[in-house]
Each structure stands twice: as C-alpha cells, then as structure tokens.
C-alpha cells in the first residue's frame, strides 16, 4: 500500500510562502494498492492530484470522511470527474434524513458551483457508509463514526498485514470521559488500533484546545496519547491550523513532545510525503 499526501492543512487552504514545507492544501490523501486508486477526502489537494493521474486510471474511489467544505472543496476541480472514460465512486457518511447524493448536490449547485452533478459526463456512483466494512480492490476498509460535528467517519484501510488509519478531523477529549485510559470508550479506537500508520487531527496545542472545545479537533498532545493507546507504529500529525506557519508548527511540535517518552514514531505530516506500508 502506497500513500501519497496531497493536502494535510485543516479548515482553509493557506498557500502562503511561510507554509511551504508542510503545504497549504486541505485534506487529500491517495492510497494506491496495485491497480486500485483510493482517495481520502476531496480537499483542495485533490485538484493537483487529478492533474497527475495517468490515462491508465479508469476507476477511482473517493472516500469522504465528512462534508465540511475543507474536505470537499476540490471535488469540482478534480479532472477525472470530467472524463467520461473514468468511473468515479464517491463514498461518504450516511446521515439521518438527507441522502448523501442530496448533500453533495448542495456543493455542485448554485450559488457555490456552476456545474451540477448531473451535468458531469459520467455521474459519480454514490455509496453511503456508516459503521461499515467493505472492500475496494484488494483493500479492506472499515469505517466508523467518530467525534466531530456532523456525520463524520474515520477509515481503516488494510492489505495483508499493513494497516493505515485515517482520522483527519476528530475531537478526542470531548467524546471520551476518561481519555486516554479506556479504549472501549474512546472514539476512533477501532479504526486506529495497532495501525502501522495513523494520520490524526492535531490542530492545536493543549492550551489552544481549552478555548476551542466542541469545535471538533484535537491537540497534538491528545493525538499522541491516542496513538499510544492504540499502539500505532507511526503517527503523522494532520489537519494543521491554517494560521500556523512552518516555523510555528515545528515549535509547537517540539514543545508538545519535549517531555514525552515515545516508543513509536511521531512526525508532522507534510504535503508531498509518501509512505510505503
């Protein structure tokens, strides 16, 4: 399983020169397993990914964690959607009342966007998932609702013995009364346990989080404790605050990990990173 990062910024694209190292595009991660092409989220990073996909790619699966704008804003600029020779599947979370198709149409319609879904040369195939298990190509996928405003999924992708867990937007402390001590009562645990690689929300420092409770995101400290609880081998901190420059991200990282004794790898995720599992 090969994983390419096309965007790991949170909330808002921030292509500022001082964000060059970690990147300014919002959530988009490509997972390649043999001929299978899976894309996690359709943030602004998916636009560049779409330009680079070769003509050999005939089928693409986009797995949306949720429909907040930073995870969907790139969809309308994803070139394969305009190529009649490519089948695009859109997977996303079920809601209580409104079908996923209807919720996606809000973006693909006026006043937000000039092209409607049914005007695309080939209508994407819509799949609703909740606490589900399914398979795409050779990749086994598990999805579970996680703690974030609105229906939001985490995804666990497995091939052979390799596991990649993706929970880009997740508020750990809000949903877990005794965090990080009880796996049974920790949102996202089933997605991340024993993963070889975890991408996890780490938008704030603990101090910043205290003023943003309920906004749906986690601190770096909580993300690290979650990774420890889940016994992951490597944690890539994801969903960087658009206000934070490269320098600020690195100083936050050093500050938050200075006193941590870690028996697993932790790093700041950067646009352009690749991982082989």
């Amino acid at each position: 399983m090969k994983i390419n990062v096309w965007g790991c910024r949170g909330s808002l694209p921030s292509p500022d020169p001082e964000n060059y190292k970690y990147g300014g595009n919002t959530s988009c991660v490509q997972v390649i397993e043999g001929d299978t092409c899976i894309i996690l989220d359709g943030g602004s990073g998916i636009q560049r990914l779409g330009k680079q996909l070769g003509p050999e790619i005939k089928e693409i699966h986009i797995l949306l964690t949720h429909l907040h704008i930073d995870h969907t804003m790139g969809l309308g600029f994803f070139l394969p959607l305009y190529n009649p020779n490519v089948i695009v599947h859109l997977w996303g979370p079920s809601a209580t009342v409104e079908p996923l198709l209807q919720r996606l149409r809000r973006y693909f319609s006026a006043p937000l966007f000039p092209v409607r879904l049914n005007e695309l040369p080939r209508h994407p195939i819509i799949h609703e998932v909740d606490d589900s298990e399914f398979e795409i190509g050779g990749v086994k996928i598990r999805s579970t609702y996680v703690c974030h405003p609105g229906p939001t999924l985490g995804y666990r992708l497995s091939t052979g013995n390799s596991v990649f867990a993706y929970i880009p937007d997740h508020e750990l402390s809000l949903g877990s009364p005794n965090f990080p001590n009880e796996p049974e009562w920790t949102s996202g645990y089933e997605i991340a346990k024993d993963a070889d690689l975890l991408f996890h929300d780490a938008e704030y420092t603990a101090e910043e989080y205290a003023t943003k409770i309920g906004w749906g995101h986690s601190s770096i400290e909580d993300a690290i404790e979650f990774a420890r609880l889940c016994r992951v081998k490597k944690l890539a901190l994801f969903h960087h605050d658009p206000m934070n420059s490269d320098l600020r991200l690195e100083s936050m990282f050093q500050e938050c990990t200075r006193n941590s004794k870690l028996d697993f790898e932790v790093e700041l995720c950067a646009e352009g990173n690749t991982y082989d599992l």
């Binding site: 809601a95 703690c147 049974e184 089933e190």
Partner: protein
C-alpha cells in the same frame, strides 16, 4: 475489548456531565454506565460494579410497586424500552443497597444512531418524595 459506538460514548459523556441520574445500556440490556447522581440513589458505585447484565441490575435494586409487590424486570421502563425500542415512563419503589426504600420516576428512551442503528437505551430518573 471492542470500542463502543460513538453514540454510546457521547451518551456516557453526556450522562457523566449531568446532575440528574442516568443509566446507559446496550441493546442486550447490559448496563454500560451509570453516573454519580445514580450512584447516590442506588447506593452503589459504578467503579465498584462496572457493567452489569440486565438480569443482574434489574433485580439487584429490588423494585416494587406502590403496594410493595416485587416488580418483574419487564415492569421497568428501561426494560420495556429495550423490548419495544420505544420510550417508556413510570414510577416505582426500590430498596437500595443502603437499605433505604426510595420512590423513583424513570423516563427511558432508545438510542438510534445514524442512519438507523439501534444501539441501546438511556434512562433518566429522579428521586420522588415518598407518598
């Protein structure tokens, strides 16, 4: 141990935050959590009991009707909700483990997650004045 669904995790957190007594059960009726105000009424600490099966928790408190006749488990609102997946409400006496007879009123409701997943039930109850 498998993690609980998000809705039950948030339900526990919600119950943990309330000053009114709360029970949280899974679809099989296993008592997953009760909060501190519930501990006060029941005379039991959750930390000591942990989760309990329905056969255990529905009898441990010796529920009785107003005349002192034992109430079968299916007479309890929360057990009714587990059976019907509909809200239920009622009042009854319990003899708690402190040896006190307490009149409690209970409202139980099912927990149904997105898109239509039955995940268990929550009961909120409060101590009523003895009549």
């Amino acid at each position: 141990m498998a993690a609980q669904p998000l809705e039950l995790i948030l339900g526990r957190q919600f119950g943990d935050s309330l000053s009114m007594p709360v029970f949280l059960v899974d679809p099989k009726g296993n008592l997953l959590f009760y909060n501190e105000p519930a501990e006060e009424i029941l005379g039991l600490r959750f930390g000591e009991t942990g989760s309990m099966k329905v056969e255990e928790w529905s009898t441990v408190f010796k529920p009785t009707d107003i005349d002192g006749n034992p109430l079968p488990p299916e007479g309890l609102p929360l057990v009714q909700t587990l059976g019907t997946q509909k809200p239920a409400h009622g009042s009854f006496y319990i003899d708690n483990l402190k040896g006190e007879r307490v009149l409690i009123t209970v409202t139980a409701f099912p927990i149904v997650g997105r898109p239509d997943r039955y995940l268990g039930a929550m009961a909120m109850f409060w101590k009523s004045p003895l009549v």
